[in-house]
Amino acid sequence: MKEIALHVLDLLQNSVEAGASRVSIDITEDAAMDRLVVEVRDDGRGMQPCVRDRVFDPFVTTRRTRRVGLGLPLLAAAARQAGGEVKVESSPGRGTTVTASFGLTHLDRAPLGDMAATLIAVLAANPQLKLNYRYRRDGGETSFDTEAIERRMGSVPWGEPRVALWARDAIRFGLAEPPEPIPGPARDKGR
């Protein structure tokens, strides 16, 4: 994968396949600690401990079309080569949280890439999914929360191409008067 945003797209596909209805994506750039941390948290069906312990094994997958699962092993390799690591917390019925860390200024760290394109690719194809995105760095924060927008405006047809492209630009260039993000059960679970 050429961008961290493509790994995030892959993680979001896992969440969709796990039946998630809410997903939060938190990206934090910490210059002082020289860390880039990417967290994807969903309320999907979660995994049994025996499955979770083997998610980094490429020969373990629940899919039947082919017998290798490369998503998490690829992410783990990308994090490791940039001086970071990947953690997976999951239990049945409680969702899954994947946290990947990278050395922020590490030469082998892939660029963050186009997060807006990643998020609308998922949103357009899964318009019912509630997406809560936050990106924090020193001196600034951007966020995009479909649930907060819908609380303000009522239901939004995210699958409509023009709506999805509006969302992409709102993520890229910011949203005037963004509605307050909603702290959801997916976020405060287990904290």
Partner: protein, 121 residues
């Protein structure tokens, strides 16, 4: 900067278009987004499809996704499902090819034969 007022205008237009087409069977465009698809460029395909549909003001087309279907070497893949027609799956699709598939197959109803990897009833 984007505003919620603008979203409101887009939503109203979309709702009107949906009312006109009520009862019609939608055309479906399915983008494969397994790990293999993503690594090969599925996100660019998805973006191109959305831009092409928006640019042509096409309504009644649903864009969805699927995971890996076991033909990883043919990724990125895209399937066009029209009501009453065989579903046609295209392989090694790029952003430009996706735009042509929307114009030629979705709009003008002519399958782009050279990129087809499968068709099923």
């Amino acid at each position: 900067m984007k505003s919620l007022e603008e979203l409101e205008r887009i939503r109203k237009r979309a709702q009107e278009a949906m009312r006109i087409r009520e009862g019609e069977q939608p055309v479906k465009i399915v983008v494969a987004m397994g790990t293999c698809g993503i690594a090969a460029g599925a996100r660019e395909v998805m973006t191109a499809v959305l831009e092409e549909l928006a640019g042509r003001s096409l309504t009644g087309v649903t864009v969805t996704q699927t995971g890996c279907i076991g033909l990883c070497e043919q990724e990125p893949m895209l399937t066009v499902e029209k009501p009453g027609r065989p579903a046609v799956t295209y392989g090694q699709v790029s952003g430009d090819r996706a735009r042509r598939i929307v114009a030629q197959h979705v709009v003008n109803d002519v399958v782009v034969g050279e990129w087809v990897v499968a068709a099923r009833r």
